[in-house]
Subunit: 216 residues, 2 copies
């Protein structure tokens, strides 16, 4: 475990589950398809799911110029970006020690509007590639109108923490003698058979990115 | 689509994706294993993943009495509970129209501390059952000490919205002629082979709840 970069980001509960190294953070950010962005609007907290991508020390977000969340971010609102991967259900002998195995990352900060055309295009490419690797080279690239209608925000990775639980249940010592099965049910995200667009023209094969992703 | 119960909960972007009926909400809350709770601490937004369960018109949360989030909720802090289920990757012909299929619910409000013993025990049972149906009757129930160390918070379902995307890509009309595969890659949560606790005593069979959940 390294040190927290600030007091407010420090993992309080179950400190031994906290980590502050970039390797742990990047693993969670890169594996998770989506994140949840927390912000304050009219004095109240609000949390919205969105797609993100990490590029080096930056997390990019994109969306419509009409998005409330992106407009607030653009105007310098403080945000909390939380990404959670659920790895399993921990079935302990006692109800009390039931838990989840998970990896969760929290990044705090204020975003900047990306207005450099090259960085904007690269962010759009990386967001597409984050969700479906290899797809950018297959798809039609953004037109000027599409690009102009898309806000790109960048959050520097400076203040963050990662919280992880892994491994078997941690029951009270006396409970290990109970005749109750205990262990972990691993959970993963599985992809099903690709569903072609009903308007797909005849003779178009499933795209290589989709074949690779779905393993079909 | 029904009406939003308040202006602040109304779905702004892509209004046609918004719903305000309890059936849509309950489906998302009941299917999602975890939610993300947004709250304000020291003036800044914060988002933490946690386990929840819905019981009728109430969402229950539980955790340690030392949890910052639960202490804030106990003290009447406004929270935003967001739950997201990712149903698929939408691969459009244009990079711009790439999307996700998802169901996301947002519930706003302030929680109340549950101090009635009967309601507390029922909430603990329901939280356990939400994650792993059938487990409560298999596990050792909470002791007095465990129960006293557990905070239970209840959020009334009053102000909420659901946002959903489903179905095939929505490309620009001209792009349908492009020779690019388009469609949806469905995503689900899959459970793997249960991993017995290394300290499991000999001769204990996998619990019925675990067999049912993992389909093994």
């Amino acid at each position: 475990m390294t040190e927290a970069s600030s007091e407010r980001i420090r993992v309080r509960r179950l400190e031994e589950r906290g980590a502050y190294d970039r390797e742990s953070l990047d693993e969670v950010l890169d594996e998770a398809l989506i994140c949840h962005v927390g912000f304050i609007t009219d004095g109240d907290p609000y949390v919205i799911p969105t797609i993100h991508v990490r590029d080096g020390d930056t997390i990019y977000f994109h969306g419509s110029a009409a998005s409330r969340m992106l407009r607030l971010m653009k105007n310098g609102a403080e945000v909390c970006v939380t990404t959670t991967i659920v790895d399993g259900i921990v079935a302990a002998r006692s109800a009390f020690h039931h838990s989840m195995n998970y990896r969760s990352a929290v990044v705090l900060g204020t975003a900047r509007l990306v207005d450099d055309d090259e960085e904007r295009l690269r962010a759009m490419e990386m967001i597409t590639e984050h969700v479906l690797p290899g797809r950018w080279s297959e798809a039609r690239h953004p037109s000027d109108v599409e690009s102009k209608g898309t806000l790109i925000l960048a959050l520097a990775i400076e203040e963050f923490s990662v919280k992880t639980r892994s491994g078997p249940p941690a029951d009270d010592e006396a409970d290990y003698a109970l005749p109750i099965w205990a262990g972990v049910i691993p959970l993963t995200t599985a992809s099903g058979e690709p569903e072609p667009d009903p308007r797909l023209a005849d003779g178009i094969e499933v795209a290589p990115s989709v074949v690779r992703f779905s393993g079909s």
